[in-house]
Amino acid sequence: MSEVVGKLKERFGGAVLAEEVSCGQQVVFIAREALPEVVHFLHEEMDFKHLADLCGVDYQGYKPKRPVSERFEVVYNLYSLSRRELLRLRVPVPEEDPWVPTVTPIFRVANWFERECYDLLGIRFEGHPDLRRLLMPEDWKGHPLRKDYPLEPEEEWPGYEKLREKARELSRFEWGGRRVRGGEHGA
Amino acid sequence: MEAILKSALPILILVVEALVLLVVALLHVAYTTYAERKVIGHMQQRIGPNRVGPRGLLQPIADVLKLLTKEDIVPLGADRSLFYLAPLISLVAGATSLSVIPVWDKFVLANVNVGLLVILALSSLSSYGVILSGWASNSRYAFLGGLRASAQVISYEVAMALSLVGVMLMAGSMNLAEIVRAQTATPFKIYAIPQIVGFFVFMVSAIAETNRVPFDLPEAETELVAGYFVEYSGIRFGLFYLAEYFGMVVMSAVAVTCFLGGWAGPFEVPGIPFFWFLVKLYALLFFYIWVRATLPRYRYDQLMGLGWKILIPLSLANILVTGLLKLWV
C-alpha cells in the first residue's frame, strides 16, 4: 500500500471504498460524494498536478470479479510530476441515477473530458459549467459507448433524412438552364 | 470627307495606341502570373507549371480559358449590382493608370500634367472594388476582408502619396515624363539614390496597395480563406486576379518612372527604345515575387502600426529634408 493510499484512508476513511493494484498501478475506489474533496486534497497536498485522463467505463455484463459492482465507473488517472507516481481513482456510479460531482474547478482539463463522458456514456457531472454534447450532434439520442447501445443502430439519425431531403430539393433546382438529373439517393 | 478623316485620325491613332498598350499590358499581366509560379516554384525546389505548351508557356492562356468557362455563382443574399460592379472597378482603375505612364520618350498615351495625381487617385479607386466586393458578397469572411482593406488603404495611401511628394519637389513637376527628364539631368541619373527613403516607403506601400504578401491581409488565405473575393467564381474571380497583377505592373511602372529613371539607361539600345523601362519593370516584378516567397504575413494591428508609426513619419521627414535641401542647395 503506497503512501498516498495511506494518507487518503486516514483523511477520508469511509470514502475509500476499496483499493487494488492492477499491472503495477495503484487503484483506489472512491465514493462519488467525496470526490471533489479527495481530488482537491490530492491536487493541493499530494502534488497530483496532472490529470492525465478522465473517462467512463460501462461494466454491464462484465464477468470478472470487481470490488464494487455498480454499472458505471468514472476513472481518473492522476499523475504527480514531482514523485513520478500514477494514481487511479475509480468512482462507481449506479445505473439508476448516474451522476458524479465535477472536478472542473480543480482541473480545467476536466471540462471537456467530462463533457465527452456525458456525451458518450450519459453520466451527468453535477456542477459542470457547460454540460453539452461534444462529439455527437446535439440532437443525438442515446449514448454510444454504453454496452447496450448497438454497434449498428436499427434506425438512423433523424437529421440524416432531413439532409437527404434537402439534397433532393437542391437536385431539382435548375442550374444554368440545364436540369440536373438524378440526385435521388440511390435512385 | 478628307476633313472628317483628318480630324478623326488622331482619335483613331489614340484608340489603336490604347489597344496596343492594353494588349501588351494584358500579356504582361498574364505572363507575370506564369513567371511568379515558375520563379516561386524554383525558389521552393519544385518545377512549377510545365504541362501546357512548351515549358508550360501556355499555362496563363489555359487558366484564362478555364476561368471563362467556369460557372459564375452569385451568392443568394448578395447585393447583385455591386457584386457585378466590384471586380470591374478594380480592374478598370488598374488598367487606366497605365495610360499616363511614359513607356519611352515619345510614347505616353495621355500626357497629363498631373500624372502622379491621376495614378494616386486611380489606385485608391481600385481599392473601392475590394471594399465593395467585401460588402456586396454578404459573407462574413468577405466582410472582414473588406474591413481590413479599407483600413489598409487609409494608412498606406497616405504614406505612398507622401513618399512621392519628395519626387515632385525634386522634379518640380507632376508630369511623369517631365519627372523622368528631370531625373536624367541630375548627377545620379535616378531619384532612387537621393530619395532613398522615399523609394523605400513607396515600395513598401506599393506592396500593401496591391495586397501582396506580406500585406495580403484583405485576402489572407489562411485566415479569411480568400477574404474579399471568397464568394467570387469563374471570370469574376479572374478579373480580381487580373486586377491584382495589373496593380503590380502599374505600381512597378510608377516606381520605375519616379525613382529609377524611366526609359533612360546607361546606353541606347537601338530599335527598342523601351528596353530599359522593361528591364527595370521586370526587376521590380521579380522583387514582388521574391518577397512573396520569403516573408510571412503581418497581423492587422502590426500592419497599421507599421503604416502610421514608421512609414508616414519617415516620408514626412523625407519631405522636410528634401524641401530644405531644395531651398538651400
Binding site: C23, Q25, V75, N77, P105, R108, W112, L135 | T222
Partner: protein, 409 residues
Amino acid sequence: MAPKVEIVQRQFGHPEWEEPFVVNMGPQHPSTHGVLRLYLELDGESVVRCDPRIGYLHRGLEKLSENLTYTQAMVLTDRLDYISSAANNVGYCLAVEKLMGLEVPRRARLLRTIVCEMARISSHLLWLATHALDIGAMTVFLYCFRDREWLLDIYEKICGARLTVSYARVGGVRLDFTQEIVDELYRFTEEFPGRITDYETLIDINRIWLKRTKGIAVVPPEKALNMGLTGPSLRGSGIPYDVRKFKPYDAYDEVEFEVPVGKNGDTYDRYRVRMEELRQANRIIRQCLDKLPETEGEPVIAEGAPDLLMPEKKKVPEAAPHPKRGFLIKGAEVPVVPPGEVYVSIEAPKGELGYYIVSDGSGKPWRVRVRAPSFVHISAIPEMIKGHMVADIIAVIGTLDVVLGECDR
C-alpha cells in the same frame, strides 16, 4: 474549496447584450488542420468568445475497438493521429503488452524507438510546414515536405505503407529492418541536422515571424499543467514533463537525449522547443541505429504474442487426447488476456498519448480509452485565444499542433 471557473457568456436579454458578429471558422477552412470548427464571436478583429465544436471526424474508434480483437483494434490506432501513426501503434501495443505481461525483445524495442522518433520528425515537419504556411511563409512548407517525403519513403521500405503503417505488433514489431533501410536511415540522420538549420535560417530571424509568434498565446506553467497541455506545448511553458524521461518505455532508457524547455510559454518558445526536438529525435535515431548490430539475429516479436484472430477464450487440453476417438478432451478455459486494467502513456509527437484499456479476460478489449493530446489541446484554445485577434487564432491552432483524427477519434 477550490476556486470556481469563470465562464464568460454574455446572455441574450442582458442589458449589455448586443448581437455579436459571429464567424464560423471551419469545419472547412484552410488552416483549421482538418475539420475543427471554431464558433467565434468577434468585436472587429478581436475575439470576444471562442467555442470549439468538434466531432466532425468522430468514427467511434473506442466503440469499434470493443468489438475487435486486440490485434485487430491496433489497426484503428493508425487512424488516430494519422501523421504519426507509428507512435500510436507503439502506445497501444505497450498497453496490451503490459496487460498480458509480455516481454519485448531488445531488438524490437530499438526498432520501435526508431520508428517512433521517425514519426516525431515527420509530425514536427508537418507541423512546421503548416504553422509557417498559416502565418504566411509559404516556402518553408515545401522545404519541409521534401524531407517528410524522404521519411515516408523510408517508412514504405520498412513496412510497405507510408501513412498508416501498423508497424508495431503486440509483443514486438512486424518486420526486421534490412541493411538497405539502415543505410538509408544513416544517410538521413547524417543530412537532417543541416536541413533543420536551413529551416531556422528561413524563419528564425525573420522579424515578421518574431512579431507574429513572440508574446502570442502565453501560457504560464501552472496554468498549462492545469489545462492539461502536454508534450511540446507544455514544455514551451517551462515544465520538463516528458513521458520518455518520466516513464521510459521501449529503448528510451538506454539512449541519451535532452528535453528542451521554453521560458516564456509563448508561441515562439513552443516553436523553439519543437525545432530542438527535431535535433534530439535525430540523435535518438542515430544512437538506436548504432545499437542495432548488438542485437543482430534476435527475434523481433516476443514468444507468445497474440495472433490476429484471438479466440474468445483459449482452450487448454487438460488430459491427453481421447484414447479411442482421437479428439482432444475439453479442457479448462484460461483467459487470453488477463482481466485487469492499465493506463499506459507515451510521448507522442503531439503530447502525452494515453491508452486506458480494461480487459475482461477475452480476446477483445472491454474498453479502450484513448487520451488524445489533440483533444485536450483543442479544449485549451478558448483560454489561449483570450484577448487576441483573428490572425492569432491560426497561430494558436498551429502552435498546439492538433490533428482532428485524434481529437474526434
